[in-house]
């Protein structure tokens, strides 16, 4: 008998219901904002007191936090993902009891009473339970004048998933981590999607969000390989149409060797030294 038999895992212990926002931390907010706007996001609100801007596209909220507190103030990286949950306080109790670390309360935008746990590479996993009748952005953010607060999604783009770099031979423990704490389940290779079908794929219990765990390739011991969230995947029902629209807006996709835009997916070039985005064939789930 194992711990899993002793404590059966409910299918969706936290009541996860998709992603509320993804956050970037950057020392180059203008440059990142330019990239995001080419990807179809629009800045719609600014934090009342901090260097933080809310971007939106369709149902996707993206926070750009220009108050880096890490070792490299010029770096740009995905610093948090916030899941919509049934009860944020209950989600915290469940995850802390199971061995999560509560994220330190940093003086930045999205930490105003939003509970969260430590994820990969010092990133945070937040829990948001006010997303139906009340917006968490109403309190902290001031709308930018003259902007549409609900800019439409380009080519039906929606959050599909995140790619997480993990250390060599450490995928299994991250599978345990996400399964035990959040109720994610591991998919088989037959379920892989996109143009980079490698590593380990996990699906959220709501079925609408994916995590792809990628270890350093064999024979690449000399490659600098930090743990962390390294890429956002956008789902779109028509990758080729989305690629065309984004190219018209100035987004550059990798098109060499085995990596070229196709019906399954497309991968952008590297922006700001570390940021890439991926398109994946996927239909948005109905809210």
């Amino acid at each position: 008998m194992t711990a899993r038999d002793l404590v059966p895992e409910p299918l969706n212990p936290l009541g996860i219901d998709g992603v509320e926002f993804i956050e970037f931390v950057t020392g180059k907010p203008q440059a990142l904002g330019g990239v995001l706007q080419r990807l179809g996001f629009a800045p719609i609100a600014r934090h009342r007191s901090r260097e933080v801007v809310l971007y939106r596209q369709g149902a996707m909220n993206l926070i750009v936090n220009a108050e880096p507190d890490g070792a490299d103030p010029s770096a740009t990286f995905v610093s948090a993902v916030a899941f919509r949950v049934r009860d944020a306080a209950q989600a915290m109790r469940h995850t802390l009891d199971a061995g999560a670390w509560e994220v330190p309360r940093r003086a930045s935008a999205m930490e105003l009473n939003i509970p969260g746990i430590l994820g990969s590479g010092e990133s945070a996993i937040y829990f948001v339970d006010r997303y139906k009748d009340f917006s968490i952005y109403d309190v902290d953010f001031v709308p930018l004048p003259g902007t549409d607060p609900n800019p439409p999604a380009l080519a039906g783009m929606h959050y599909f998933g995140l790619v997480q770099a993990v250390g060599a031979f450490r995928s299994s423990e991250w599978v345990d981590f996400y399964r035990q704490l959040l109720g994610f389940r591991q998919l088989t290779e037959a379920d892989f999607v996109g143009i980079l079908p490698k590593g380990t794929l996990l699906q959220s219990p709501c079925g609408r969000f994916y995590l792809q765990l990628v270890e350093p390739p064999e024979g690449a011991e000399d490659i600098h390989w930090d743990d962390g969230l390294v890429r956002i995947g956008f789902g779109t029902p028509d990758v080729l149409e989305a690629t065309r629209l984004l190219q018209e807006r100035g987004v550059v996709f990798i098109d060499e060797g085995a990596l070229h835009p196709g019906e399954k997916g497309a991968l952008t070039q590297v922006y700001l030294g570390s940021v890439t985005f991926e398109l994946v064939a996927s239909r948005p789930a109905r809210a």
Binding site: R4, L6, V7, A98, V175, D176, F177, L181
Partner: protein, 292 residues
């Protein structure tokens, strides 16, 4: 098995951190196991100790140790969770990819398999974001896991990828444990083997009655009375496909009052003794899990 894949446990040596570190390095060791106390008792402070280790050419194989963690409840459990967090942060700071955990010996530890499994699973989960493995070791006198078989049962029940077993051959021989337990171990669950031999002593005074239980002095491999068992154990590890780490850990009262260089030389000679006798035992190289 090669020289570079075997660590020296600096607990076997006396003196300040830099003296022990230098003794290990100058005798060819490229991996060490530290006690957390080595780092926090450094006169320059823990940050200075971490910097010293990070600047050195050695890789830290593991940090010892968290003790009396599992099977507790209420404030005592929460207290131990906080202690575990502190040690995991120290592991990360010093670049140790593994934390050694010894089975609980406190009276309050419940002999409740379910609680023990859940506590070990929780500890393993705490270690994931820090990139650290948990190596759980039996402890003589523990009511939770006093031997290898019990400790492995706890590890299997907790069932976490970054939770495995550490085996101390000194404990094994002192307890007169057989080697058969290894044959049933899953290699993937076996993270670390501490290598030492023992010599039995009778410590009763001359007037005491016969039949005193023997005490043991822990010595480096090759210096004790269970040399053949030790070699056989390593051969069996080869058979089951062990790919974890080895460390030499002959902590004893005599070595504690001898110069660190003397002890490191003993360790070096011991390792040469092992390698000479095991040159045909092709243990798979340590699976290099990424460290923090």
């Amino acid at each position: 098995m090669d020289f570079d894949s075997v660590a020296l446990d600096t607990s076997a040596m006396a003196g300040p951190l830099e003296v022990r570190l230098q003794a290990a390095i100058s005798n060819g060791f490229r991996q060490v196991v530290f006690s957390a106390a080595d780092l926090v008792n450094h006169p320059g402070g823990v940050d200075d100790a971490v910097a010293l280790v990070r600047r050195s050419p050695v890789r830290v194989q593991a940090l010892r140790q968290l003790q009396d963690f599992e099977g507790l409840s209420g404030p005592l459990h929460q207290y131990k969770v906080n202690v575990a967090k502190g040690l995991l942060n120290l592991c990360r700071a010093v670049g140790a990819p593994m934390l050694l955990v010894t089975a609980s010996t406190v009276a309050e530890a419940a002999e409740d398999d379910e609680r023990v499994a859940c506590d070990l699973a929780k500890l393993a989960t705490l270690a994931v974001p820090k990139g650290i493995d948990i190596a759980y070791q039996a402890q003589p006198g523990s009511r939770v896991a006093a031997d290898v078989v019990s400790a492995e049962a706890c590890v299997n029940a907790a069932d976490r990828a970054n939770l495995g077993l550490a085996i101390d051959t000194g404990h094994l021989f002192a307890g007169d444990g057989g080697l058969d337990a290894f044959d049933r171990c899953y290699a993937d669950r076996l993270f670390m083997v501490g290598l030492s031999d023992t010599i039995a002593l009778r410590t009763g005074d001359a007037a005491s009655s016969v039949g005193d239980a023997p005490d043991y002095v822990r010595v480096f491999p090759g210096d004790g009375s269970r040399a053949e068992d030790l070699l056989e154990l390593i051969r069996r590890l080869r058979v089951i496909g062990f790919h974890g780490g080895f460390c030499l850990n002959a902590v004893n009262a005599d070595y504690a009052q001898l110069p660190a260089t003397f002890v490191a030389e003993q360790a070096r000679d011991s390792l040469h003794w092992l390698l000479e006798r095991l040159r045909h035992v092709d243990l798979p190289r340590r699976r290099m899990r990424a460290s923090a």
